[in-house]
Subunit: 349 residues, 2 copies
DNA sequence: ATGAAAGCGCTAACAC
DNA sequence: GTGTTAGCGCTTTCAT
């Protein structure tokens, strides 16, 4: 009906209730002197507020108490790129973040500017818009965490090396995930197992590579460095990586791709040259994105509880904002191996 | 280094530059009286600000000028649900929103509380946290648009009936998309074409159903109401819908599913009972989500420029906030038919 | 060309 | 129990 009417202020509530601003504030906040307000007054205030559909102005409140009830989220990607929101890993995390933040009554603000450098970007996060920032999977080479941390901004992170900076973080248990994969493949009789990793500067790359090497050793297999290839987590370069492995004289019988996008690229490349999965080549991915179950052959992969990881990191951030202290070691979540059609017994040829 | 240091204020800048707060403000904002500041002063201020890595406090600025440089985004879903962020349609739109907002230097705040009712939820959007709200694909039955509009909150929308409320909106040209589908199928020789729609209260359902009926008529075909089925856009119920169609004595030779998730459900159900796609049944989806190209058989579908739609709606919202006026008729974007493997010539049996 | 002063809406000391 | 006062950091008239 009445359009463009200004939102009611605390003053309006106070006036309608016949009390001072202060009293209204105290009542509505349920703050300390809560009990020192007569029932009658309290009720009048509450009623007046309800009648006006009063909602406190977040800016004013934020200014006064230096708390905004909002957290910021920063995806560890280059400035200008917004692909992250369509990436199933990121959106899985984001869902957990939104849930946890929502439960705590906080809004989630996405900083749209992207990271340039600590010098340029970090100060932007001191604009008082958010109470803290959640950093998702930043490249190890970026100075995001150190830059924000140096300014004293409350922080939590997902999937990265945050321990040295004493920043609470959550992640999948990469080592456990890789072990599930390697054991599964070995159980199927594979011994020449190749690894295709993503970007070198992602913490998961180092963790998964290490874990892979260890798991192979633990199984009594000599890891062959020739069987380690690299491309991008986006899947870009997966075909080339696959071909280089496939064209070896002693080609692998199985490939562990460090995420499902890479695995999809490998599957496509394999099909295009007529390499049969899983008959000639077993393939495993990581993440269990929705597509993994829909492709043919469906993809054996490692599922990580993205939502839980995002929620946990958010809760730690909210805790940190409230002054709590967390251990610096990342909170790890157990992965699960989802066996589908892309892996099979090693072919005897 | 120095942790927990408070962010520099305008005062700090002014002090360092040896000017008053006011002057510093004027210089840094490049506001009107811009020219009435001496070069020397201006430079000192700028330098001081740079040295301090000064960033204006968004709360204070927001309070003073009633503009926050942030837009809110509200996905038209039930309270408590956060699935939307993992839905490719929503994330495609979101990507466009983030880009357009980022280009304009605005943050994007996701309201995490979900919509309950106009009475309960609308006032929350008057908390001054954002300058306006973008509403994405709300159900026609929800009072989101009317509720927010009644409070005078600047609004723009995606994929909904916003015309009566005079709210600018953007969407794919549903009619054109459906026509592409129907013509394609008819061209392949199909005449018994079934339609499976999503929720009845989504604007796209009515639009696509209407367009389908018209397109059939235009082609000289009598649309058969028996061939209209319904399920959810999530794909839930698609199997049942498919079976009911498939078990008719005079079953359809083609199915147009109103989105790719529904089409995926149909494909799964068809496979499970051994109905061959496209030999016995042609199948078309809508949206062209990433999975559409990866499944077997790959899905013929209608691609909509989600990013552009999201970006356009965002620009209109920003325009509205700035006082611009837009026509109430939705801005429509052309879809494209992506022909893949799931459609083929009608089988002569 | 620059500064002083008021106020945005709220909270939090402190008086009464 | 309740009201008064003084900011939070910034913008914006209005003087000078």
């Amino acid at each position: 009906m009445t359009s463009h009417n200004k939102p009611p202020t605390l003053q309006d509530v106070a006036r309608d209730a016949g009390v001072s601003c202060n009293t209204a504030s105290v009542v509505l906040n349920g703050s300390r002197s809560n009990t020192r307000v007569s029932e009658a007054t309290r009720e009048r205030v509450i009623r007046a507020a309800a009648n006006l559909s009063y909602v406190p102005n977040a800016m004013a409140r934020g200014l006064a108490q230096k708390r905004t009830q909002a957290i910021g989220i920063l995806f560890g990607v280059a400035a200008g790129s917004t692909d992250y929101v369509t990436n199933p890993y990121m959106t899985g995390i984001l869902q957990g973040v939104l849930e946890a933040a929502g439960d705590a009554g906080h809004c989630v603000t996405i900083y749209t500017q992207g990271w340039v450098s600590a010098k340029v970007s970090a100060p932007l996060f001191r604009d008082g818009r958010t109470d803290g920032v959640l950093v998702i999977a930043p490249p190890a080479t970026a100075d995001i965490l150190s830059g924000l941390s140096a300014l004293g901004i409350p922080l939590a992170a997902v999937a990265c090396e945050a321990e040295v900076l004493n920043i609470p973080s959550a992640d999948v248990d990469n080592r456990a995930g890789v072990e599930l994969v390697v054991r599964h493949l070995i159980h199927l009789g594979h011994s020449r197992i190749a690894l295709i990793t993503g970007e070198a500067d992602m913490s998961s790359t180092a963790l998964r590579t290490d874990a892979f090497t260890s798991a192979m050793r633990d199984a009594g297999l000599q890891p062959d460095r020739q069987l380690y290839a690299r491309c991008n987590y986006s899947g870009e370069g997966a075909e080339r990586a696959f071909l280089s492995l496939w064209n070896m004289q002693d080609r692998p019988t199985a490939i562990f791709a460090c995420n499902d996008a890479i695995a999809a690229g490998v599957a496509r490349a394999a099909r295009s040259i007529g390499a049969a999965i899983p008959d000639e080549l077993s393939l495993v991915g990581f993440d269990d994105v929705p597509t993994a179950s829909m492709v043919t052959p469906s993809l054996t992969t490692v599922r990580q509880p993205l939502q839980m990881i995002g929620a946990e990191a958010t809760q730690m951030l909210l805790g940190r904002i409230a002054g709590e202290v967390y251990p610096a070691t990342p909170r790890l979540f157990s992965p699960a191996l989802i066996v589908r059609e892309s892996t099979g017994k090693v072919c005897s040829r």
